[in-house]
């Protein structure tokens, strides 16, 4: 009897140890996956936002080593008719006027013979209009109508219209004491996007802005490339041989700003590396 109990204890103990190790292993694996996901999401979001920036048009409002304020493109449409302060749009993709912070940039061609005086003019979107107001030159119904604040002089039918929203991307300290990548309208609340990350001073998010010469610059209008380094952190400490500690996953990408030199379609390379 004693022997049987001893054997059973040993077996059950071993079994429990195996199960516990298995559980820890898979939990750690799940944490690793989640941490990598957070790093990927952050890189994807920041990369997509930065890639479409036009520094010449002032899309980069402010920049620092761990945050960036930018003009985020939300939609594109084509002017179908212009009347007073109303424009109607066709070929609409994305969104326009969904928040109070939304504005539009309308392409205004000065002298049609030269591109030197071409400009994108920023106008407030005051309200959305009935989509079927007016007709396009080809007789079709416009998809969207906008009332804008500002002059539409010089805006012609066919002019592209770009919807935008000002966003700040930054690491924010959440209520749980962890750092999260947040997206915030310049005068709004923070919307957490991904995380948690290491603290900013520990390399949670590092942004390096490079000029056309490949050297760091502080002038937003000179930026051609942005190097992003992200260090994501597991949401819970992972037990290890030297005690429990947070797991870290680092990801670096370089983003070439496609509109920084739009005229030469220079494109650019993006290299990524996961540590």
């Amino acid at each position: 009897m004693v022997l049987a109990l001893s054997v059973a204890t040993v077996v059950l103990g071993s079994l429990a140890a195996v199960l516990l190790r298995q559980q820890r292993y898979y939990a750690a694996h799940a944490q690793l996956a989640a941490t990598r996901d957070a790093a990927r999401i952050a890189a994807e979001v920041l990369g997509a936002e930065l890639r479409a920036l036009s520094t010449a048009a002032g899309d980069l409002y402010a920049m620092s080593g761990d945050s960036v304020a930018l003009r985020s493109t939300t939609g594109l449409g084509v002017t179908c008719s212009v009347a007073g302060d109303h424009i109607s749009l066709r070929r609409v993709t994305g969104s326009f006027g969904h928040s109070e912070s939304d504005s539009v940039l309308i392409f205004r061609d000065g002298d049609p013979g030269t591109a030197r005086d071409d400009r994108w003019v920023a106008l407030d979107t005051r309200r959305l209009l009935r989509a079927d107001a007016g007709r396009c030159p080809d007789g079709r119904t416009p998809e969207l109508g906008l009332a804008v604040g500002g002059s539409l002089v010089g805006v012609t039918v066919g002019a592209p219209v770009r919807g935008f929203r000002p966003y700040v991307y930054k690491l924010y300290l959440g209520g749980d004491g962890r750092w999260w990548l947040g997206q915030r309208l310049r005068s709004g609340r923070v919307q957490p996007l991904a995380g948690p990350f290491a603290a900013p001073d520990s390399g949670g998010l590092r942004l390096e802005y490079l000029s056309g010469a490949g050297v760091p610059t502080r002038n937003p209008r000179e930026v051609v490339q942005v190097h992003i380094s992200i260090k994501a952190q597991s949401s819970v400490p992972i037990p290890g041989t030297r005690g429990a500690d947070f797991l870290h996953e680092s990801l670096s990408i370089s983003v070439h700003l496609r509109n920084s030199r739009a005229e030469d379609m220079s494109g650019g390379e993006e290299a990524s590396a996961v540590e």
Binding site: A8, V11, L12, L15, V18, L19, Q22, Q23, Y25, Y26, H29, A30, A33, R36, D37, R40, E44, A48, R51, A52, S54, A56, A57, D59, T73, L76, V78, R90, R91, T93, G94, L105, F107, D109, D111, P112, G113, T114, A115, R116, D118, R119, W120, C136, P137, D138, R140, T156, V157, G158, A159, P160, R162, R258, N259, A262, E263, M265, G267
Partner: protein
Amino acid sequence: MARMTQPSVTIDRGGFALTMAILAVVIIAALASGGLYVAMQQLRVGVAGSRASAAFYAAEAGLRVALANWDVAAVDSLPHGATVLMASGQLVSGERYAVRVTRLDSGQHAGQAYYLALSAGRAHGAWGGRRQVALLLRASPSDDLCCDAALTTRGELQVADGGVIRGIDLVPGSWAADSAICAAVAPGGRPGVVTDDAHLVRLEPSAVVDGSPPVAQRPSPEAGVRSDVDRLFRERAELADIVHAGDARLREIRPRVGPPGDCARSAIANWGAPRLPGHPCFDYFPIIYAAGDLTIESPGSGQGILLVDGDLTLTGGFEFYGVLIVKGRLTLTDHGSQVYGAAWVHNEDRESNLVGGGAGISYSRCAIRRAVQGSKLQVPHPLAQFAWLEILE
């Protein structure tokens, strides 16, 4: 003594080792399945990300292919809002792309057209992603680049006996034998001469000026011509393939062929081979810019866009096919020099333009279109400041 025998009794002890072992296996299997599921999800996320990136770069490659092979004839004829498939293909790595170009402008301004090039990239494989990028472009339609007449000018114009200015659309003789050269160009006549004062057009008795009408007078040509000439110079001089920095006198202009048998485009005296349809330089249309007065004393020929900041003199039987834009005055001496296409002569100092005996200017829509399409003028340019964006689906 009787021996008592007891029946043997088998006791079922009810062990639990097997049960525990099975339970442990089940639990471990469940954990392993969970781990496998997580790993599979990670694999899928990784592959999907990789494929999405491949699709994105395929879309960008498609844009470059479309720009490199811009079909001017196809986009020029597009009405407002119409779309044409500009490029499609497959990369070596297997990703596919398709680029569709839509004309955005309504045709209100003859000098420019706007296009949206939308490129869709698709990765290969079961989890192949799809991404779309777009580029906003502007280009000048070739028909409207210039010119309203065989010769547009101001001030005095003298056409000597035997001199010819024709507004009736002409296919140059050396091209007439090959119907393919001007196949896509519908004929369209213009005035012979457009000027600010028809009374200053002096025709000697045997001079020929025709067109519809032969001579047209613009009500206020001054501002229009000047701004147009300045505009054309500003834009096009920046794109010049051949530049003469000051006054120049050229005596030998002829096509050159490089060692591999290709047209030697770097040769400054090579202005194409308009009279030789089979020549490697027949489809070479340089933009030539002379910053001062230009005199050509050559029996040769050239084609393309010729911009002259000062006076232009053609002599020796030189033939030019394409568009002449001259800020000073134009002199075609009595040695049979010819212009096929159109000439825009601003004559800033209001001196006398001359078309000598045997010389001529013949409006040729085909020559104009070939020159404009063949030169860099027809390469579309991304819109200023903001042209590229990703279209999210």
